[in-house]
């Protein structure tokens, strides 16, 4: 980890990677909190 943080470019790349992971994690948390009817409605909207 220190090797990444010592290099500014690698630090920025790691930040971007973390951002992508965070976007998917946020989506997964939202999905896990949805009730079954809400999830069905969302899936239907996404497939339209």
């Amino acid at each position: 980890m220190a090797k990444i943080l010592e290099d500014l470019k690698l630090t920025v790349i790691a930040g971007v990677v973390l951002t992508v992971i965070m976007i998917f994690a946020t989506n997964a948390i939202y999905d896990s909190q949805m009730s079954a009817p809400e999830k069905a409605a969302t899936d239907m909207m996404n497939n339209m």
């Binding site: 943080l5 965070m22 946020t26």
Partner: protein, 158 residues
């Protein structure tokens, strides 16, 4: 209520720009420039500019979190966000809180020793300077998803 929320949000953003602006100045400008500065001119950075920047940096961090939590509390979503029932803003809030803890409890104490602001064993200075740099870099890395989380509240990505 609307005016109050506007003022709190405005102060939150102003403090945040102060904090992250100086964080990025340290990491994108000052640290990479230090090896290029002649030794006799280095005290201008370590004795004058860095201590002044650190003052605005740490208080910017404090007031960003203070006004951010005040905004979340007055808007009624603080607990939902902190419990990640509102993960968009909640993840950003936690990243910001972790970063502010790094500033006040790791970076600032280490910088006080590294810059000679407090008396300490001279042998400790290089290690403290490295610790401050690594945690400052950690905050630079975390600032990228933190800011993405903050703006995703207005513009959801997925």
């Amino acid at each position: 209520m609307e005016a109050e929320l506007f003022i709190i949000r405005y102060l939150h953003v102003l403090s945040g720009i102060m904090w992250i602006g100086i964080l990025w100045y340290f990491n994108f400008v000052q640290i990479p420039s230090m090896p290029k500065i002649p030794d006799d001119q280095k005290p201008a950075i370590s004795k004058v500019i860095a201590p002044e920047a650190l003052f605005w940096f740490r208080w910017g961090a404090f007031f960003t979190v203070f006004f951010g939590l005040a905004l979340a509390f007055r808007s009624g979503y603080m607990m939902d966000a902190l419990m990640l029932r509102e993960p968009n803003i909640g993840i950003g809030m936690w990243l910001g809180i972790i970063m502010a803890i790094n500033v006040w409890f790791v970076i600032w104490p280490a910088q006080k020793i590294a810059l000679g602001i407090v008396d300490a064993d001279a042998a400790l200075k290089p290690a403290m300077g490295r610790r401050a740099m690594l945690f400052s870099r950690t905050n630079t890395m975390l600032s990228i998803p933190m800011l993405a989380s903050m703006i995703s509240v207005q513009n959801p990505i997925m």
